[in-house]
Amino acid sequence: MNKKFLGVMFVLLLAAGGLFAAGQEEEAAGKVVSLKAMTIGPGPVPVTRAKNLESAAEKLKGEGVNLDFEVTFSTQKFEPYRTSFSLAYRSGSAPDILSEDQDIIPEYAEEGMILPLDSYLNTTAYKKDYDDFLPGLWDAVSWKGKTYGIPIEGVVNCIFYRKDVLRKMGMSDEQIERTFSPESKDFTLEKLVELAKKAKKAGLVEYGFTHRKGAGDYWFNSVMMFGGRFVDEATGNMIIDTKALRKDFEFHKMLVDEGLLPPDMASWDWKVIHKYTVEGRTLFWIGGHSGQWKEYQEKEYHEKLGKLTEEYLQENIGIAPFPGVGGPVTPVKVHAYTIVASTKYPDISFDLIARASSPELLARHAITTFRGPTRKSVADLPDFKAQAYLSKVLKIMNYSRAFPKHPALGVYKTMIFEAMSGIETGRLSVDAAVEFMKAKAKADIPGVIIE
């Protein structure tokens, strides 16, 4: 009797499984599949993060998928965007696809809010595409051995230098090229400081260096420049590398003391910061990323010239990696498409983001935003090749170092900024700043390791 009952149950279970599988198939083949995506700028420039998804959706429809696709593009800053996503996720109305920076991936991964994509990425069908991505970028979107996104751009942090000022200092174009070539022995932090001092002394610039205001990625760049570590690979805990931090603090203090860096950059207006770069009032703008090349062509920061042309920028401004203590460093922050864990259609969502990260669409994105492409084959596309500036971006990407990843990075970034603003305004000594970093990290970051 029992055997009979178990047999019937087994047959019923099989039948139910068959029906479920058939239903899923039917869903994908016939029924309308509704997918939603959330993407972000911030600001209007990277709108291709959304447009590429739309193009991919059209492609999928062309392949016979009955798709109803809706994508939103937010020009807000990251915090309200992330709060909207968390609220949507907890209230059961989350999108299926989310575009995000790499720094948040560990947090969402730990909370199970996004899906690991390894089962899709490790297939034979995707292998060719997988291998086409630049080295290190998959690592940027991974956490604890699993990969959570497809990298669609690298925000390339770099130094902008004024060629026109250097020419006025008597340097030929060839000398400038040689000095700022990452391969050159001359490309050191000491050399940049020396040039800044000369330019300031000659009255060619008001300041040698300017950096960003507020808590931003620049504060990681400068720690990286001094060889700082951020995360302990073995435990996954954050590291406060006091040795690198001290060097970083001392460097900025020296710049302020020498009159090469304004003491009050934290209270400068953003427009004024960019005005100083585009008008050549500063020799080195060290707080930016490659995409600002585009911004300077679209916003009127220059009092006389307004929006700058590509020709003006090529003639007067150059880009370079950071001259780190162990060689040039180009800190790269990856932006990626991820799949939200609550999606009903993970397979179709993956098909969509895989198509949205094709070389052609990534080239369109790079050309629109002037940010770094993530796939090698993009460099061979004619549209991309025609962009002289993007070739330079690719060149400095040879010195890429991926941004750190940890849920507490945002907190850490704010701490460095606060300490640095204290040092630069003379409210805090370097020693006191290091002590502040230790105490604040212990209070705010669970499991932190003080080195």
Binding site: E79, R82, T83, S86, L87, Y89, R90, E107, Y108, E111, M113, G214, P262, P263, D264, A266, S267, W268, D269, V272, P407, G410, V411, T414, E418, A419, S421, G422, E424, T425, R427, L428, F436, A439, K440, K442, A443, D444
Partner: protein
Amino acid sequence: MKKLIPYFFLLPLLLLILLFYIIPAVSTIYISTTDMGRSLRGDLVGVKNFARMFSMEDPVIGRVLINTVVYLFGALAITIGGGLVLANATFSLGGKTGGFFRLIWFLPRATPPVVWAFLWIWAFDPTKFGLLNMIFRNVGLAERSWMSLYPMLIVILANGILGIPYTMTILSAALGNIPTEVVEAAKIDGASGWQTILKIKIPLIWWPLSFLTIWHTLAYLTTFQYILMITGGGPFYASTPLALYTYQKAFQNMELGYGSALALVLILLSVIIIFAFRKLLGVQRET
């Protein structure tokens, strides 16, 4: 049945208070006992968040509390003192002239917050493009890093001045209610202008003056939007009061558990200060 009618009219408001104050307040108490972060999910941690604050494990909290007191009393002094002086001055001018000056002093209140903040940012911009630095340069004085040197003073002025129009309007009306014969009698008895203000007028407008003090105390303890826009609380927490720090921890760093604990302490602090002021100013007796 008739007795129930007032409650019927009060019901919608009570529901709104329940929905937008009581429920969030209870939620805040609960969240303050968790380690909730950006994912909006948290484990219970008991009083850990409060311990972090009261044990001064957070190295900034002491500085933030001092800032809160300095900011509160600085802004209050400008708002109440300035409002009283202007109310008396415009009332003395009387008629259309007094009204005209009151109207001019009302302009800051009619300015949108973002514009008001922008004006202060522009005025104290530390570069050569700042208004004050332009003036200083033109009269042969050295430019200054205003925002770095005097961040607290700037936010006190920006907020304190904005409170003046409201104080001035209420106090002008209160001065208008003082019987003229009382003031005339004081003059006949030989009271000077100062004596009339201190001994006659201020005691007679004590209730509105106390109300305005308490009202603005609450406002300065809990609002921070102008500080956020003008100095961002910096440099190095130099202009960060508790309300702004609570916002930064809860919504910028997304430490919702710790942020909620800070918010509860802020509410508690507000209640204590309000009761202290009520006692000190004798409001209870008057009402």
